[in-house]
Symmetry: D2
Subunit: 362 residues, 4 copies
């Protein structure tokens, strides 16, 4: 099993390599009767598209989404939705020189150890390019969730040591680093330009907020909502940490400080949200809030020591077309994985109560 | 699906509530021919047993493991291994007063929203008591991994603001907080006693190290090894953050600082381990290292504001038998979930190569 | 994976061997709020109990069902329902002589080839005794289906060459062969007594009818309703053939003869039911009808040629406590597997339409 | 879940409708290092291609397979293999008149009941055209199995009442009905021509033989090899019955007649194969033999009574391009589903023994 499927009822399967003819996603289990147009998918794809800013690789892909099945007369039919995106600007030549060498920070060595061979062109299946299929699938999940009043929004909360001090979503939509704080964005831009000149890259942190989630989502024990979101986000290349609500800082608090008190004002609410909207693995009705820490882009021009497949110790400089930071382009991917996970949780939760079953079957 | 199963080939299903007659695990997919004795399971169960120290609930359970199937003449047969642990010291009376009230920081409200009703005795299925079934299953995974040279070890790296400055595993085995630093342990004990007097509790962080893992484990894209470990660890009650290797601190590094250089000395090795043993979602042959942040025990005697099922705003004081901190008793659970995940990854990896298949079938 | 789990949302996992201390089932995903009492399960268990008639093994098991979790105050909570049945009348001694020999018609040789060893006591996991766990799980599914107006009924349609000419369900409930035709029952009894004297056994066919099934159940392509029922029924030991509606006889008809015409009388109905209630893999609103062909009990006293584990050609006579025919006691198992499959299909179908989702989430 | 995935380790996901732009399959979990060329897939696709004979629809599709991922330099990489087949000769116009009417014997009514809407063009997803994606995936499984010495061969054993009296595989490859008996083929051709003139169709039976299967395949209890093959074959449109070895006739035999005696001649063998190569759900080393009964093509020109979506009772004559019998073109599909199932069973069986695991990991 090469793990290319995700989700139990809202099931996404992706395929494709960085330098193959195309990439795609099959979304199986999307309910019938959802209005879906290519633009719904294109909108999100454009947000992760390369070549869009000075902080993104100059690889020029138009990333056009083609819906090949599952939609009839503008509406989903309940059968698998196949989406395909053609690759147009592969430059495999750039990679021939990495055919026999393991790039530090990349999956090259792991793939070689696992499979005994690998498609070295642009990292093949392990390339960030694979994520455009996730974004396409996420757009379908997002459309389904919108119909239920659920919205998923992510942004860059920090670049290296530079942290956004305020959350201005309009600003996040405006700047290429997707930072919700103009001043932080400007300092981060400077920082990234300097690193780029040095042939280096930076890490950063993405934050995601999910609103409109009803209480009760998530399955107890092993399929808790945070466990499923954790798997979804850790499956994104470069993520080294995930935390919900207070996250690691909660480990330094006391119970009295960390517990979210409930109160009633016509509806059960919480006076705080240290839990990040998930308590005991089940959504508690508050916004779901999580952060993902991304390591720096491993492809850097700076010389590094490594090994080739023959076992020689060599030096390597990974030039080519690479982002100086992963986070901004990963924002759409974080949203996609979150949307897919919540969509699946919503479907699974539909069978939790006999009373709901009786509503549907009588 | 109430999410009580975990793993694809090494499949664990658990059942049971805090105050039911028993809890259990069914381990399906453990290879045949593994020597397995009740003591192999008892050893780990005893480490998470309640009543073992001043920092653990005084609930007196002997947590005796009974193997009911899957083992014949001391060896696994390949059929499901069923393990049962009887509950003996339930005091449901303690909980009657929580039948109509939502304890802050607990799953009470989420379960009520999801299922329309709940077993309020000790939190029912959402109780930490559920984890003894995980530990039993983890012990089987651990036995299988040992045969392959893989060992899983966790310990308490911090209690509140008190952090272990050194890693002395012998010391961690000696003290009830499972801290690998005697001095940190003594300060943490003081801190916890003070909190206990105040009817409060503390959060903390667990660290886990997995040695002897071959390179190549983990499935690309959605079932990366860190994604599966992330799901496994986030499924443990109270975990609010998980990070691998450098984790969140990697987000503040540059590529040159964070990449682990490879070198060859008869075998491909890494000069550093910022990646925590997983690069591109696949094990890279170095030790796997991750940390889990636990929130403070939500059950505290200090008065808290909350709501009852009738929608009244009330005050609650959760007295009873509760740990002042989750981490020390969760150590065995963290190891169990890690072992189960690695065992499953090992089995899945067995079919990655045609050359391996030909080894087995000719 | 030793395949001990069945179903996607209504998920059943079984464990236990013929001569172990107990057998059990874990039912995960049963909706919360279903009234469930031990008697609901006991009723079905008693129907497959051994020692109940001259045509069943004299092994005396009381097959008492113990519900260990998932039910609180007489109602399901949505968490896993664990049911355990203790073994009380094992006579492993009877089997010691089969430890090193492969019984013809049994899984002995296959298990040895697969696992390299086996629990030879009563066939271990491959024993028909394993089915009592299925029956317990099926009783839960049946209770859930009854609430939705779905009923599952099976009976013995033929014993050897003796076929029931009429379907009198009251009669089927009365006689130990569960035949719906008194005259056929009497002739079959005679036939079985004669075979028993000769140390031989007979095959037979079970028929199952499911009423009250709404149209639309089953998932297209690979998880069609007949594909899932087919897997469920073929998973019962001794089943060599399964057919729906006309079944094999449909292969000799023409389209004009075999198509079921639709007509409308306030509701879309069919003028015939050659399809057996499933058309194109989806339930069509008519009764679901299928038949399962069971081979003769392989354990016979008549001498047979076989091989021992050392590779010697030997002769064997399988004396002991064996049914002269599998079908009558398998009737409750056929119903159980059908009920579990339909229950799972009902849950899966709950998320087929956006309109249903909006009903539940707004 | 619209059930478009099959298999646990060798996982196949298909997509596409009869009149959409294309159809495809994603094969996830094929081991790395298998030589795979487009011709390997094309060979099987050509066998089920329409327009190939007088007994197949005249729809002219060249069914060209395009491999879009998972193969690099002629060898599988272990990542998902995506295959796409474009539709070129859709004539949706033919179907506009069926938009509001339920064709007898088709899934139209079930889909409408399930999804509230349907792609009526050529049956959309429920069309036999969907099976070309299965055949493409099956070709990959077949290539993998060949490397292990396993071969899968199916043929038409009967057309209506006309049954092949001998099995001449060369003859089966020669004639368009894929019948292994020249004389039976000639009589069947006459019979089908007569039916075609009458605007009617015929049912038939396919038989499949799998050679070279090692003993030990299949997982006990719910995932027995016959249960998985049963699901695979029943998932093919038009199949109403499946039987292994003696099948339904075994129900009329005695144990002494039906048991296959073992003997040893350097290897454990069976003196007969009433079991059809599967005993107790596990392969026993003999050839696996099963039959599938197909109903007559439901699309017939003869007038039939049915209902439209408005609830009017109407008469319908399904003219257009339809096969007078399903079986011959389904032969490649039966082989494909059998190959996929066995390939998955082989992969799953790789982890049955600790001794095998130690072979791979040390």
């Amino acid at each position: 099993m090469s793990g290319s499927g995700f989700g139990k009822l809202f099931r996404v399967t992706t395929w494709g390599e960085s330098h193959g003819p195309a990439l795609g996603a099959v979304i199986d289990g999307c309910p019938a009767g959802l209005a879906l147009a290519p633009e719904d998918i294109q909108r999100d794809l454009d947000r992760r598209r390369p070549g869009a800013s000075e902080f993104a690789t100059s690889r020029a892909e138009n990333d056009q989404a083609h819906i090949l099945s599952g939609v009839f007369q503008g509406v989903t039919t309940g059968t698998p939705i196949a989406v395909m995106i053609n690759n147009t600007d592969q430059r495999s030549g750039d990679y021939a020189r990495f055919a026999d060498i393991f790039r530090p920070g990349h999956a090259d060595f792991g793939y070689e150890a696992k499979y005994g061979l690998r498609d070295y062109r642009g990292g093949g299946r392990s390339s960030g390019r694979e994520t455009c299929a996730r974004v396409a699938a996420g757009a379908v999940a997002r459309k389904m969730l919108s119909a239920l009043g659920v919205e998923v929004t992510a942004y860059t909360i920090s670049v290296g040591h530079i942290r956004a001090e305020k959350i201005d979503l309009a600003e996040a939509r405006r700047n290429p680093l997707v930072m919700p704080d103009r001043d932080a964005y400007e300092r981060a831009s400077e920082f990234l330009r300097t690193l780029a000149e040095q042939g280096d890259s930076s890490g950063g942190v993405a934050e995601c907020v999910i609103t409109g989630v009803q209480a009760g989502l998530g399955e107890p024990v092993f399929e808790k909502l945070d466990a499923m979101l954790g798997a979804a986000v850790f499956s994104i290349g470069g993520v080294k940490g995930v935390e919900f609500g207070g996250g690691f800082s909660a480990a330094a608090l006391t119970g009295a400080e960390n517990n979210d008190a409930f109160f009633f004002d016509g509806k059960v609410r919480k006076a705080a949200n240290h839990a990040g909207g998930i308590t005991g693995g089940i959504s508690d009705g508050a916004d779901i809030v999580f952060r993902a820490a991304f390591k720096p882009t491993p492809s850097i021009a700076k010389p590094q020591r490594t090994v080739d497949t023959a076992g020689n110790n060599v030096e390597i400089s990974v030039t080519g077309r690479h982002d100086p930071i992963i986070v901004p382009r990963a924002i759409a991917v974080v949203e996609a994985m979150a949307a897919i996970t919540i969509a699946d949780a919503v479907l699974q939760n539909s069978t939790a109560k006999m009373s709901d079953l009786l509503k549907l079957y009588s």
